[in-house]
């Protein structure tokens, strides 16, 4: 469904990704975890064609994202909830997305309803939104075209406990309906509860991957994570 094959990305002197390979199966939620600067966002941007890999290939639904035609109908993306024009209303952001995908205006109301933004909130400029509201808007934007694949960069960032629980339920429901979800996060306790599979990266390399149970090995995911990233740091030093 999603496949990274030997993807490397070099920025001037920083190796952001180093021979990254992994696949994400259909109908599952995969958590992409790693410390700050590990290369998560870089990998997701490469997947959706916003950055070019130095070497290697990334495909989604069996082909490069850029060949998907109208990709918003296949793959929903949220790369940065903060990347919005502050002078545009939430409703307008969704309206533009719906227009671009050729969807009826009614889809905007459906999505507002789904992500829990009220009519009043949706008519306010995004500049005045809290981070949590922006995340809801961003997730809603990703879901506009009923995509079968979702790519979300830190969607739970800035959400309150209720928001996180809501997000967890939403993603679970979508996966149960057959969607494939790849989401990056720092929130290990959260990802443990929602994800089926985990891919851990550190300093641009895949450190471990497997089901939540396999990686936890009876301990918390956090312990495994801290051990592995410490190892990666030592070997890099």
């Amino acid at each position: 469904m999603i496949e990274f094959s030997h993807v490397s990305k070099v920025y001037r002197n920083v190796k952001a990704l180093d021979d990254v390979s992994f696949t994400v199966e259909a109908g599952s939620i995969t958590g992409f975890v790693g410390p700050n600067g590990a290369g998560k966002s870089t990998a997701l941007r490469i997947l959706v064609g916003l950055a070019r890999p130095t070497t290697g290939t990334a495909t989604v639904l069996g082909r490069p994202y850029t060949e998907l035609g109208c990709p918003g109908l296949q793959v929903g993306t949220l790369l940065d909830a903060g990347a919005q024009h502050p002078g545009r209303t939430g409703r307008e952001v969704l309206t533009l997305g719906a227009m671009m995908l050729g969807l009826p205006k009614s889809r905007v109301d459906e999505i507002l309803d789904l992500v829990g933004l009220s009519g009043g909130e949706s008519r306010r400029a995004v500049g005045g939104y809290s981070l949590g509201m922006r995340q809801r808007l961003g997730v809603g934007h990703a879901l506009l075209g009923r995509p079968r694949v979702l790519v979300l960069d830190e969607p739970a960032n800035g959400l309150d406990p209720q928001g996180i629980q809501w997000m967890r339920g939403l993603l679970r429901d979508l996966a149960d309906l057959g969607s494939t979800v790849l989401l990056s996060t720092h929130l290990l306790h959260e990802v443990e509860q929602v994800a089926d599979h985990i891919v851990m990266i550190g300093r641009g390399r895949v450190l471990a991957r497997g089901t939540v149970g396999e990686l936890g090995r009876g301990r918390s995911l956090e312990q495994t994570f801290l051990e592995l990233t410490a190892d990666a740091d030592r070997s890099a030093a």
Partner: protein, 258 residues
């Protein structure tokens, strides 16, 4: 969860069809005016055009050609600013992430914006004519003087062409610099800068003669181009439009979007 959020089933060939170009065009048109800033600039422009045509009519008398031309002052300054704001805003606010995730064939976005600039400039020119005709009639009636309706289609086309060139040049400058303050300052101060350059001796005079888009387009706007005028217009168009548009578009196409 209702089935309205169900993902659709297997990938089909219809799924692989590209976003139709007219949709991109509509989206870009909407983005021009759907932010606070964009809607303010657009309304100022509208008011300015109405007010300037009416007041010019009152002061100058019922001459259609003069009244239509009055709108050009606003079109040459504020329409390009609207274009600059829309392209630079994408990178400042990082909405380019969404734009190019939804349209990975990136060249189509600048192409839509160029076509849109052309459509907007033509529509604005027609709007000026639409306002100037009744103003000319009313002023002639009220003052009880004969109105001058003389305006050849050739003049009108030349003037419209000038508006198109100026708006596309603004867009090109915005795409080249990707920085709104710099692009707007350069655009608005260009006439002053050229008048300074002109006084820098013979070289400066030649440079201004061939490169100042405002003066090279004036024969076009007036509808009396000579061969030399056409050459100067071509050179300044390459300098202000073809080169920055090409460089700007290539950069946007190759750039990693962050």
């Amino acid at each position: 969860m209702t089935d309205t959020h169900l993902p659709v089933t297997d990938i089909t060939t219809t799924d692989l069809r590209r976003t139709p170009f007219h949709r991109l065009l509509c989206v870009e048109a909407r983005k021009l005016v759907d932010t606070r800033c964009g809607s303010i600039v657009a309304s100022i422009l509208l008011v300015l055009v109405l007010a300037s045509i009416v007041s010019r009519g009152v002061v100058f008398g019922p001459d259609l050609h003069t009244l239509v031309g009055t709108a050009g002052i606003g079109y040459g300054t504020l329409l390009p600013v609207l274009g600059i704001l829309s392209v630079t805003g994408e990178w400042v606010h990082r909405t380019a992430l969404t734009t190019y995730a939804l349209e990975p064939h990136r060249w189509r976005v600048p192409a839509a914006r160029c076509l849109l600039s052309l459509i907007v400039a033509v529509a604005a020119s027609l709007f000026a004519l639409l306002v100037a005709v009744p103003v000319t009639g009313v002023v002639a009636n009220v003052r009880n003087v004969p109105a001058t309706w003389e305006i050849t289609p050739f003049m009108l086309a030349g003037w419209t062409g000038t508006n198109v060139l100026l708006v596309v040049a603004g867009l090109a400058l915005g795409m080249l610099l990707l920085n709104a303050p710099a692009a707007i300052v350069i655009w608005l101060s260009a006439p002053v800068l050229w008048s300074v350059v002109k006084r820098l001796g013979a070289g400066g005079e030649v440079a201004a003669e061939w490169l100042d888009l405002n003066s090279t387009t004036s024969p076009l706007a007036a509808g009396d181009m000579t061969g030399g005028d056409a050459a100067r217009l071509a050179v300044s168009t390459i300098f202000w439009i073809v080169v920055p548009l090409t460089v700007g578009a290539l950069r946007v196409i190759r750039k990693d979007v962050n």
